[in-house]
Symmetry: C2
Subunit: 591 residues, 2 copies
């Protein structure tokens, strides 16, 4: 009777997951051993059928599947969840625990809990700390833009021989299950744990130790079809923008599930304005895209990180709405970027025809060699080479500006958050108390037994209700206006968090060029090499300037838009209150 | 050389008070011994002339004027000043320390510091505590409406043989000097101290031990010209109201001074609409009037106390303005009352022709016999005698209502005060920070070096300024609306604080009548007496009902008025903000 198995530990089924509750010592009949993911389908003595974790039973083969017992990720998961749970408001995004810059978010790829650890040690501001204002640090001190990364981008799904479906089902959904804190939160996804350990060391095998000199000195590959032209516009160097602005809509989040509903996830529809044909993507696909864009353009173009991964309540309506809103914001920003939106990988993401098309493109993108600083090799500036001094000045100016704006944005975010708290906390409570006090007096007056004060008591009662309504309005207002102001600034905080690395690449390059003479003297490089370096730094500078100009024009548009929206809503808010009070006022009469 | 005197203690002159600084052992020449108020004018060896306290020198007569050494009031004075000083905002009136009911204020007549002591022991609510809801307590338990008083109304100025000018110069101004905490705060006004000790036991010599039975059983005096008729109106018993409503304006406070500017005080102009002839009164004259009205009508009509005496900064503009405003409110309320406004003493206060006229009337009023419960003897109800049961029910109803309203009013005052604090504290700070954050971002943007963002930076700067203006408006608004809401409710708190005593008289009377049969049986009183008592309680009840109806009609008017005013200002406030924001909004443009 090979299909019988003995239950080793109690297991309580998670509702809605087609699981089967079993007790230690119980004997069950295995109905399907090929379920995968560490699960088997079994039937108990009462004829009930469902999934049971393999490691909870003694398989016909004999012996426990040790591979699954207490996988390493189980422990670390608990902490962040606990730390996170106390306040589930999606507004957490602005709260200190989430104040991590793009790079930090990036470096947490699919490792959500480390976010908290890092922030605990104030890691969020390290990017800026690494770049003393206005001083050009020596190479050694200059931050290696990828340094943090090498630690940071576990790509479980690149683990040797890892099948798509293998990682597909792990590392994202599974975790959230085991963190949902529900009854059946058991150790699943051991595979993730192991593959993650592997992934920590195999990023950028080509140039993990090196900075921009790779590009400065390398023998350029023959120009491929990839050409990034930079024109001279009114404001200086600019990317070449397409006639038609690419855009897309992220909509219609659907809960999908596979394997008897054990694996559940949210799938978003992405509809590009070019094809109008919707494609479905899960969060991790966005995350994959983000990784690709970061690899490919990160040293020339700040790639803002995706909205935080959330470790709990992924299916709470509000969270999904919020994540969609932010994915939309992120996609819109990417679409707006002439270089990013035009790239193969981005186009693939928006327009792949079918699963096969997607997987082919996916593998191709992951094999792309033109990543990292090599992106500069495809840049073609229309214009004379820039003098290294000028390059350095520009670089310094951008560094100062982005730092200053980063401070300004964070300041606004802090004020905004305090205001949000007040408007949703003490303030409405107070208006409510005022309202109650009026209504209370009104009912006392009603008990006077005196003739003809109905008008007053009614009016006071109305006034009281009005202040209760105002309390309500005050509490709800932030979601109508402050929310968008905060979202935009949060986006910019993310974006600005990328600049230190982008700018860092340039500073490092500039240093290299400065070293040039010494290196030539030491005949480490030829004079020709040095000339090449200068020329290439000039190219990098064109790119940086084009990028800054792109940033500025977007910034001007975004802040005009969000301020308009904010003030518009504020006006409505105060007008409505005034109108309500005018109403209340009209009910009183002095004889 | 009889006009030489030896200085016993150092005395430092108070600036601006024509005082003379002298040192112990110094010999001075007395230039005027008849200054009075415990002062003499003297000249020192350097020929400087000024005032010196008599008790600091050895007079020609030899020996110290012991009467003046360290008068008893000196000590208690210190405490309250200290307790009071920390917050000078006139808004203190609403703060817990000032939460004393009318009776408590009354019982502190010219003894401001005891207010704090009392409140420290929560004395403010004693009035209500004394009257358990709905139960009619036995005589012994029934509060003696004057009980607290006998302790409470030191009338220094009634001390045997006390001259007008004697008390005129003491008890009010002097105290405030010695409490002003300035350098020269020395023990003055010894006379006050002593005369106060006297005054504590000589109030209502006639019936200090007795309650309403005095009226219930006394042989009524022959009806004088004083007749208070009560008619049956639509709403029940009502006082007879004059055709023309008496009113008056309290205005034009002037700082006056006497005795070399040593005694300074504020004099207010009071202009009645009857004569349109202004008369001048100092706070203590109002206080004297209050005492007279309290004596005469207090057991039938709640006489609200005057605004708090303030022991420091009597000459600060804001305080004077505030006191005047409140004296105006008090006078208006008294004018509105048909019985009070029509009384001799009130008319005297408003229309006396000259100093002589005033003093004569003053003495007459102080000799008035028809005070206390005897007021009921001049009341003539048009209508049948009321059944004692009905009388009792009415009394209970009024007791319940006034208690309930007292609670409601205090609740509103508490909420209002919290709101006041928020609107003048954290809220504007926050709007300011928002404004600063916008302006800050604006100036960062200005540093971008990017062409053509002037529109945005100007607009953001404007928006920032707008929020700073809003901060300002928020901080100033309470004085424009909440202030009046608070003032009215504070007035009513005072008025309601008088009812327990007024109602107490009735409860006591009702008890007496209930005892009637027993007393007859014990032949303590005759059956005739009992009938008389019943009749007189009925009269008292007519008075109470008339008074309640007067209270209700005023209440309805006052609350309609103040709510209108409050809401009107609130509407303006929100409309102005909306308009300012609309302005700010119009400056942003999305290309």
């Amino acid at each position: 009777m090979a299909n019988k198995a003995k239950v080793l530990y109690d297991f309580t089924a998670e509702p809605g997951n087609n699981e089967l509750t079993v007790r230690e010592g119980e004997t069950i009949t295995i109905t399907n051993q090929g379920v995968g993911g560490g699960w088997i389908e079994a039937q108990n003595s009462r004829g009930e059928v469902g999934l049971v974790p393999e490691d909870y039973i003694e398989l016909p083969g004999g012996g426990v599947n040790v591979g699954y017992v207490a996988p390493p990720i189980a422990a670390p998961v608990a902490a962040p969840t606990a730390a996170h749970v106390p306040d589930l408001s999606f507004f957490d995004a602005f709260a200190p625990p989430a104040n991590n810059t793009a790079r930090n978010q990036a470096s947490n790829g699919n490792d959500p809990w480390s976010v908290w650890n890092q922030d605990a040690t104030g890691g969020s501001s390290n990017n800026w700390a690494a770049q003393p204002e206005g001083t050009v640090t020596g190479k050694s001190a200059a931050p290696d833009p990828w340094g943090s990364n090498t630690q940071g981008h576990p790509q479980a799904y690149q683990g040797p021989g890892a099948e798509d479906d293998e990682w597909d089902d792990e590392w994202d959904d599974v975790k959230s299950n085991s963190e949902s804190g529900e009854g059946g939160a058991i150790q699943r996804g051991g595979a993730t744990g192991s593959s993650m350990k592997i992934s920590l060391n195999n990023r950028f095998p080509g140039f993990s130790k090196s900075g921009p000199e790779l590009f400065l000195l390398c023998k350029l590959p023959p120009k491929g079809k990839e050409k990034l032209t930079i024109y001279m516009g009114e404001v200086g160097p600019v990317w070449s923008y397409p006639e038609a602005q690419l855009d897309c809509v992220v909509a219609d989040p659907k809960k999908g599930s596979k394997m008897y509903g054990l694996k559940s996830y949210i799938e978003y529809q992405v509809i590009p304005n070019t094809t109008n044909r919707p494609v479905n993507h899960r969060y991790k696909h966005f995350d994959w895209l983000y990784e690709r864009l970061l690899d490919k353009f990160g040293s020339a173009i700040p790639i803002p990180s995706l909205p935080d991964k959330q470790v709990t309540g992924r299916f709470e309506e509000e969270f999904i709405k919020m994540r969609m809103e932010r994915l939309q914001g992120w996609m819109t920003r990417m679409c707006r970027h002439p270089v990013v939106s035009n790239s193969d990988v981005f186009q693939l993401f928006l327009t792949f025809k079918d699963e096969k098309d997607w997987k082919t493109g996916k593998r191709k993108a992951e094999k792309d060699e033109g990543v990292g600083v090599m992106i500069f090799s495809s840049i073609e500036p229309e214009g004379p080479d820039l003098d290294p001094i000028e390059v350095e000045q520009k670089c310094e100016q951008f560094s100062r500006f982005t730092k200053a704006m980063d401070d300004g944005v964070k300041d606004l975010l802090n004020v905004g958050q305090e205001h949000w708290k007040r408007c949703t906390g003490p303030l409405p409570k107070e208006y409510q108390r005022i309202g109650k006090a009026f209504q209370n007096l009104s009912s006392v007056f009603t008990s006077s037994g005196y003739q003809g004060e109905a008008t007053l008591t009614d009016a006071m009662n109305e006034a009281g209700k009005t202040y209760e309504e105002i309390a309500q309005m005050v509490a709800e207002q932030p979601r109508k206006d402050l929310h968008f102001l905060m979202e935009t600034n949060n986006e910019y905080k993310g974006l600005l968090g990328c600049f230190p690395d982008t700018i860092g690449v340039h500073k490092a390059a500039i240093e290299k060029v400065k070293e040039g003479d010494r290196l030539v003297a030491a005949s480490k490089i030829t004079a020709q090499d040095k000339a090449t370096m200068a020329k290439r730094v000039s190219t990098m500078s064109y790119a940086l300037q084009a990028e800054m100009n792109h940033f500025h024009s977007n910034r001007i548009y975004d802040y005009n838009r969000v301020m308009q929206l904010y003030l518009e809503e504020q006006v409505k808010f105060y007008e409505t209150i005034a109108e309500k009070l005018r109403q209340a006022h009209s009910q009183f009469t002095t004889m």
